[in-house]
Structures are given as C-alpha cells and as structure tokens.
C-alpha cells in the first residue's frame, strides 16, 4: 500500500467522472430533480397538512329570523382549524344531486338544511341531516369525527348564545321570595345563579382540549426531510454499484485491469483509491441533494443520532 498508487486511482477516478459530459447531469442535476420530484410529486401537496373536507350543502331554509341557513353556510365557510379552512363548501340545489356526488366520491360530507331551520334554532330545536362519506373506512371515520365535533361545538355555542339572550329578556324583578336566602347561591344573585344553571344544562362538562405536537410530527417539512434522506440513500446505493461492479467490468473490457494487475499496485490500493474517489463524487451529490431539499423544497431534517 502506497499513497502514490492510491492517489493515482483517486485522481483518475475523479477526472474520468467529470470528463464524461453526462456526469454533471448525474452528479448534480439528477439529484436536484430527484429531490424536487420527491417534494412535489411523490409527496402529494396535502400530505401532513390538516384535513379540509369537501362539504356539499343544500339550503332549503327560507326563514326570516336573524340566524338562518345562509348565515350557517357562512359559518361553515369561515371555520378554521390550525389556520386551515375546515370545509370546502359547495352549494347544491337538491338533495338527490348531493347524494349522487357523495356516492361518486366527490364529497366527504353533506348537510341538508331543512326549511324552518332559522326559526327553529331561535325558538325551538333545529334539525339537520348530515351525510358522511370518504374514500376509505378510515377516512369515513375521520370525516364523521370532524363533522360531529364541529356540529357539537356549533350546537353548544348556539346554546350558550340562547342562554345569554334569555337572560336579557328575563324579568329582573322576578325572584321567588322563598329563594332569596338559599345558601348554595353564595353571594350571587338569583339571575346569576340561573344563568350558571342553564349553562350547566347546555354543557354539563366543559372540557379543554390541548394539542401537544410531538417533535417528530409528520407534517409536510418532516416528510420531505425523510424523503430527502431516502434520496441520499439511493444515491449511495447506485454509486456503490458504479464504483464497485461497473468500474471493474469496464476496466476488464478495455484491458486496463490486466495492465494494472501487472504493476506493483495491489488490489487494496485499487479498492481504497476507487472507494475514495467514489465517496468524493458522492459527497458532492449529497450536498446538492441536501441544499435543494432544505432550501428549495423546505425539508426539515432533524439530526438525532441517539
């Protein structure tokens, strides 16, 4: 083993690689294309993003009340989760068309707002028909959970609003005489007590849900990051083929292996020299992949060796 001989293999390896005009493509352009493809083709744009449901709505409500079907649709359009709209609302003329589209998989969910919805929600109990669909049992489950959670949330908020309104209209002087000294009211007035009590009727358990995001959250940048590392792995695999198998076959074909074997250079010199030159080229490709991945595709690569 002699440095001079190893150097011969390294220098000739790198020079021949870059003399080949297609080398620039395979070493720099192809890894960049691969990384961009990974980020924008292999990973669909929706991957790792909060879900937006395609929601079809049929509005049959003609109520004149302050809150009616039209305002409900506005609420549906505006509602957000973590900065993303929860529903992509599409208006339908009739229920048949809505169901048809649901069956064809064009919609995730559908709501039919019956006539009198506005009046009922103000003075009585409103009714809604909700359809839930999806591409798989899994997504139906998710869509159903999203719909029911939204409607639950909406329902409770309407309830609390109605309590507020009720309290405004309630006669302030109406307090039963035998109820003025109840210990359980504490230092509150009867009206205050009543408001609390109604709230308890509408929402007996008011739970606070806190989302704690894990470090390795599978959001979009992380997914792109994993794929970028995968692209690195692929480059390593292929350059291994190139350096190892293809290079020796090529040497054999053009007769240089024979000549090399007849010199004092050993197989170890050749192995080390070719490996190092391959690694140098691979490093350049890896830099191209990582730079493109991080700065162009927005990959988030977490270095966690342990």
């Amino acid at each position: 083993m002699k440095w001079c001989r190893i150097k011969a293999f390294i220098v000739s390896g790198i020079k021949t690689t870059f003399r080949e005009k297609s080398a620039v493509f395979w070493i720099f352009i192809w890894p960049i294309i691969l990384t961009l493809m990974v980020a924008y083709v292999f990973i669909p744009p929706s991957a790792g993003q909060p879900v937006t449901l395609d929601l079809g709505v049929v509005n049959l409500d003609h109520s004149e009340s302050p809150f009616n079907g039209t305002i409900f649709i506005d609420v549906l359009k505006e509602i957000e989760y973590n900065g993303t709209k929860l529903f992509n609302v599409k208006i339908y003329d009739n229920e048949t068309k809505l169901v048809d589209d649901l069956r064809k998989g064009r919609l995730d969910a559908g709501i039919v707002i019956p006539n009198g919805f506005g009046e009922n929600i103000t003075y009585a109990q409103a009714k809604l028909v909700v359809y839930v669909s999806g591409n798989s049992i899994y997504s139906i489950q998710i869509n159903r959970a999203i719909m029911s959670e939204f409607l639950h949330f909406f329902s409770i908020n309407v309830g609390l609003k109605k309590i507020e309104m009720t309290m405004k209209y309630m006669n302030m002087s109406y307090v039963p005489a035998n109820m003025t000294t109840q210990a359980s009211w504490g230092n509150k007035s009867f009206i205050e007590f009543l408001e609390e009590y109604f709230k308890g009727l509408v929402l007996p358990v008011n739970s606070t849900i806190i989302e704690e995001t894990p470090e390795a959250l599978s959001n979009r940048p992380s997914i792109v990051g994993w794929y970028v590392l995968g692209a690195l792995g692929m480059m390593m695999l292929y350059s291994g083929f190139l350096v190892g198998a293809a290079a020796v076959v090529e040497e054999k074909e053009r007769g240089s292996l024979e000549r090399i074997l007849s010199t004092p250079a050993s197989e170890i010199d050749m192995l080390i020299g070719k490996t190092v030159s391959g690694l140098i080229v691979l490093t350049l490709s890896s830099i191209a992949i990582i730079v493109t991945g991080v700065f162009a595709a927005g990959a988030r690569i977490t270095w966690n060796p342990f």
Binding site: K2, C4, R5, K7, A8, V11, S12, K15, T16, R19, E20, R254, G255, S256, L257, E258, R259, I260, L261, S262, T263, P264, A265, S266, D269
Partner: protein
C-alpha cells in the same frame, strides 16, 4: 574528465583514493555488465495452465536473456496471451514456475522489473495521453517532477508529443498502441513483455514500433514479443519459440529454424545466352536442379553462399544471365512444416 583529475591528485590528497577506487569499481562493474550480456532475466520452467477441461499451456519453458528479443510465434488461440499473463503476474500457473531475476511474478519487486503491454492497450479513454502515462507511472510508485520529464521524453520517442494533451478517446488505433508501448516503458523496466505490439498498425507505424523495440534491445533490455506475424518475428527476434496448441514445438534463431525445418531455397535463373554445356555446369554446383526450357531452378540450402558460386560458374562457361531470383524459406514455411497448417 573526472578520472584524470583524481588520478593526478592521488599522490597529494590521500582521501581521493576512495573516489578513485569507487570510479575504478564502477568502470569495472559496467565492463562486467556489458561482458555478461547473457544474463537470464526471465525463466519460465515447465508451466501448465488449465481453464476448466481445456489445457491451455502444456509444459512450456522458455528463457529471455538481457539484450535479446525473443519472439513467441503462434496462431491465435495457441496460448501466447495466457503465457504472457502468467509471466506478468496477472494469472497464476497451475504447475511450474516463473522467475523474473529470481523473483516470483506476484512479488512487487518482480513487477517493478517488468513492463507488460497487453494486446488491448489498456488506456483510460477519458484521460489525456499525459494523464494516462501519469496514472500508470504513479501505479509504479513514481511521482513528481522527474515523471513529467520522463513522460515528455517518452512521448517524443513514440512521436506523440503533439497529441499528448488530447483525450485518448480521440486517438487512432495506432496512436493508442504507441501510447500503450510508452506506458510500458515508463518505469524503464528491464524486461518488456509485449502482446501483439503491432497488430492492426499500418506499415509505417509498425516500422516505428520496431525501431523502438530495437533501441530498447540495444540498451540491454530483455524483450519477449508474442506475435502471429511471421515477418515481425523474423525481423525482430534473435530467437523464436514456436507455440502451437499450448506446447512449444520448436525454438532457435529464425535462421536456424528455417534451415532446420524449412524447405531449401530455390534459385531461379533465366538466360540471355546459355553456357556452352549447361548440364555440365549445373552438375559442377553439386546441387539438385531442374531445367525447364530457358529457365533453370536450383535447390540450395544456403543460397547466400551458393549464388555467387553458381554465377561464377555460368560466366566461366560463357553464359549470360537475364534474371536471377532467390526464394528463401520463411518462418511460415517452418510452421507449415511443423504443424501441417498455415499460421492464420
């Protein structure tokens, strides 16, 4: 210039004695070296090689001395390339030994002594001629400025100076062969092993390569050339080994082989005026002859000696010669005689 000075200074400066003795020694050694021109550089001793069931080399032995060109002549597939690969340490023999100045070919000391030029020149097409030479020089353990000078020198010898910085990809076949030869010479090896060095070359380039080989021989190198060109073996070799189907079937100098195995030379003479008694004149030569009208064919085993004698006899008998043609035997004839086949 230096010797007389030291000789003059001996009586006065004692320590010059040592320089003087050193000079005497080196002169003496160089005389010894020149004197022993028949140093055995390469000895191949009963080598056998099999590839599967096929026996490629059968009990092959040969010797290459310093300062001689040895031709290994045989048809394609005779085992020439296999033998050269074994000598160069690329392959191992199944039986028998190869010794390069006493070293096994696998020994790196032996590898420094030999320069092997395979049939395919073994060049890297994406490097320039210069870079190819530098690559192989480094594999020989040579690096630095002296190598650059050596490369320049060698590219001059093989007349590639103008093309040395071009990519080998763009070289012609002959240029590649010449560069291959130059690479073989890069570490100034004592033994050159050349596999078909002139195959596919045009005659001009072939002459050039022959000249280079001749010069290396003059410098005391031992050269082994495998070839299937009769004229190449004839023109270059001091000795020839004829190999067929893995076995050495004859060896000796081309002249020896031709006189031993070849047919006799034929001297064809045409007359302006026949000598007075043609039959008598021809009998006096003591050689076999055939008379065919005006043309006479005489068989001679040594035409160089016989032709002047015959001419003198004819002139003496008053004959005038219109033309005289000598057809000498070639190594091709030797091969035909030995194997019953033509070489190609």
């Amino acid at each position: 210039m230096f010797i007389p000075v030291s000789v003059i200074l001996i009586p006065t400066f004692n320590h010059y004695n040592r320089i003087f003795l050193y000079l005497i020694d080196s002169v003496w050694f160089s005389i010894v070296k020149v004197g022993s021109a028949l140093e055995e550089l390469l000895v191949v001793d009963s080598v056998w090689k099999r590839f599967g069931d096929k026996v490629v080399l059968k009990d092959v032995s040969l010797v290459v001395h310093s300062g001689e060109v040895v031709g290994l002549l045989g048809p394609n597939g005779a085992g020439k390339t296999t033998l050269l690969r074994i000598i160069s340490g690329v392959l191992k023999p199944d039986q028998g030994t190869v010794s390069i100045k006493g070293f096994n070919p696998i020994d790196s000391r032996a590898r420094k002594l030999i320069g092997f030029c395979p049939q395919e020149p073994g060049l890297i097409p994406d490097l320039t001629g210069f870079e190819n030479m530098l690559f192989y020089a480094r594999l020989q353990g040579l690096d630095g400025k002296s190598v650059v000078n050596r490369i320049k020198e060698l590219s001059g010898i093989v007349s590639l100076t103008d093309d040395i910085d071009r990519l080998v990809r763009k070289y012609s076949g002959g240029m590649k062969k010449k560069l291959g030869l130059a690479i073989t010479l890069i570490h100034d090896p004592e033994i050159l092993i050349l596999d078909e060095p002139t195959t596919g070359m045009d005659p001009g380039v072939r002459r050039e390569v022959w000249r280079i080989i001749e010069e290396e021989r003059k410098r005391g190198k031992g050269i082994l050339i495998a070839t299937h060109y009769m004229e190449e073996a004839d023109a270059l070799s001091d000795r020839v080994y004829i190999i067929d189907q893995g076995r050495i079937i004859a060896s000796g100098s081309p002249e020896e082989l031709k006189s031993k195995y070849g047919p006799t030379a034929v001297i064809t003479i045409e007359f302006y005026r026949q000598p007075r008694d043609l039959g008598d004149v021809l009998r006096k030569t003591g050689l076999k002859y055939i008379v065919d009208g005006d043309i006479v064919r005489i068989h001679s085993s040594d035409p160089d000696r016989d032709v002047p004698r015959i001419v003198a006899l004819i002139h003496g008998a008053g004959g005038t010669i219109r033309s005289l043609k000598v057809v000498k035997p070639t190594l091709e004839d030797v091969f035909l005689r030995l194997t019953g086949r033509r070489i190609e």
